[in-house]
């Protein structure tokens, strides 16, 4: 009896999804016909669809960029809350301070990166620093070097124990090493004496991953680079020892 009930529920869910999919298909067909008959109608349909049958939004200044947490203020708040034995507020203030330190450190590291690599200027507007408030793990920084055309290098620096572990696994496992001969598009290499993996994919281009210390990794994603040597040359223009030191790695 219970199995019958479960199957009935599953069937109902499937039919609901099917009906919804059919509805979406019909809507797409309708939009397609409208676009041929009246090119403006598609725009209206898409705009309205964002709010269902309600009016489409046409104004709004968006959200303001919130500054990162103020570190000294949060440290003072933590001390004050601890004196009052308000542990919940103390923890919150400490987490905010930690997040603030991580963002500040991330910005410093991004600023320390070279301004130009392989003739590609650094696009400061695309700098990203992301931090979880739980401290250090999964802290991530990203910047892009681009000539505004086809050639681009995206650099990601992060404290990602999980991925760093995978890099270690690659170096420590003979299966992967022997697999290199079968798949020459991924292989081990070194950048300034640090262990690295370089990979080539027809659609993505070159990806170079370097492990620094225990948990820090640097990833270069190079699109439309001509050769492996060009990628390696670009990577050596980065101060890996400086990044390692700033990330607190030995």
């Amino acid at each position: 009896m219970k199995s019958f009930f479960v199957y009935t529920c599953a069937l109902s869910l499937f039919l609901c999804c099917q009906y919804r999919a059919d509805g979406q298909l019909l809507k797409k067909l309708k939009d397609k016909v409208n676009s041929v008959v009246n090119p403006n109608s598609t725009t209206n349909s898409q705009a309205n669809s964002a709010n269902g049958n309600g009016p489409a939004n046409k104004t709004g200044a968006g959200l303001k960029n919130t500054p990162p947490p103020d570190i000294p203020t949060n440290m003072d708040n933590a001390v004050k809350s601890m004196r009052d034995s308000n542990f919940s507020q103390t923890r919150y203030a400490l987490q905010q301070a930690i997040m603030g330190v991580e963002i500040k450190l991330g910005k410093q590291i991004l600023e320390s990166l070279p301004k130009t690599v392989d003739g590609l200027p650094k696009k400061d507007s695309q700098d990203i620093v992301a931090s979880t408030q739980f401290g250090w793990s999964n802290m991530q920084m990203q910047t892009v070097y681009s000539n505004g055309k086809e050639k681009q290098m995206k650099v990601t620096i992060g404290n990602m124990p999980m991925y760093a572990g995978l890099v270690s696994l690659y170096f420590g496992n003979n299966v992967y090493v022997s697999n290199q001969q079968k798949n020459p598009n991924i292989k081990q290499t070194q950048v300034k004496g640090e262990k690295a993996i370089i990979q080539f994919d027809q659609n993505k281009g070159y990806t170079l991953i370097v492990q620094l210390g225990q948990a820090t990794i640097v990833v270069w994603e190079c699109v439309n680079f001509a050769t492996e040597d060009e990628v390696m040359g670009a990577a050596t223009s980065f101060d890996l020892a400086g990044i390692k030191k700033q990330m607190g790695e030995q």
């Binding site: 001390v79 601890m82 400490l94 330190v101 450190l105 990330m247 607190g248």
Partner: protein, 198 residues
């Protein structure tokens, strides 16, 4: 009486040590930050957070009942861990012989979101209901009660999981009746725990 005095004295000493360590960590964090040694400041802040978690855990232990029915708390086995990073503090207490009842509170538990989806989505929660597992309410908090089978000393072994904010409260009882589990769970200070771990 002597035991109570000793315990109170131990708590005062513990709080004093925690406060001292916290102040020391915060002083290091402030001086490191002022000297732009961000990695050192970060480490000191994490150490301070760890001290706060320990203090919170100790405070929770003080709130827990000294006995559950005829089961006396094994205060000597009380444990508080601090795991800075993904999971915060872990608090552990047992009652009775052979840990007949135990309570574990894990802050920032990764299991909370899964458990919440069981509790808040009627379809999923309903499909999982059986005579061995069901959704219940304790002091207004929804929870999941599992009967893990017959105990060796009669009755059954039960596990009750209650998400409180981002923390997971797990209460287990061995060789018990369902009514006893619910009765004892109602004696736990869940509202106060929720305030401290939020």
């Amino acid at each position: 009486m002597k035991k109570v005095t000793l315990l109170s004295f131990a708590l005062v000493v513990f709080n004093f040590i925690v406060a001292q360590n916290f102040d020391k960590d915060m002083a290091t964090a402030k001086s490191s930050f002022a000297g732009n040694k961000l990695e050192d400041a970060h480490f000191a802040l994490q150490q301070a957070l760890s001290e706060v978690d320990l203090a919170t855990g100790k405070k929770i232990l003080r709130l827990l009942p000294g006995s559950l029915g005829n089961l006396t708390a094994n205060s000597k086995d009380d444990q508080v861990f601090s795991n800075v990073g993904f999971v915060g503090a872990t608090v552990h207490r047992t009652w009775g012989q052979n840990q007949a009842a135990s309570l574990d509170i894990i802050s920032n538990s990764p299991l909370v979101s899964t458990l919440n989806s069981f509790l808040s989505v009627p379809l999923i929660g309903g499909m999982m209901n059986s005579d061995k597992s069901k959704t219940i309410k304790v002091q207004g908090y929804k929870g999941r009660l599992d009967n893990n089978g017959a105990g060796t000393g009669g009755g059954s072994n039960y596990t009750l999981q209650i998400p409180v904010g981002t923390s997971l409260v797990t209460f287990t009882m061995k060789n018990a009746a369902e009514g006893d589990v619910l009765n004892d769970a109602n004696g736990l200070p869940l509202a106060e725990i929720a305030k401290l771990v939020q």
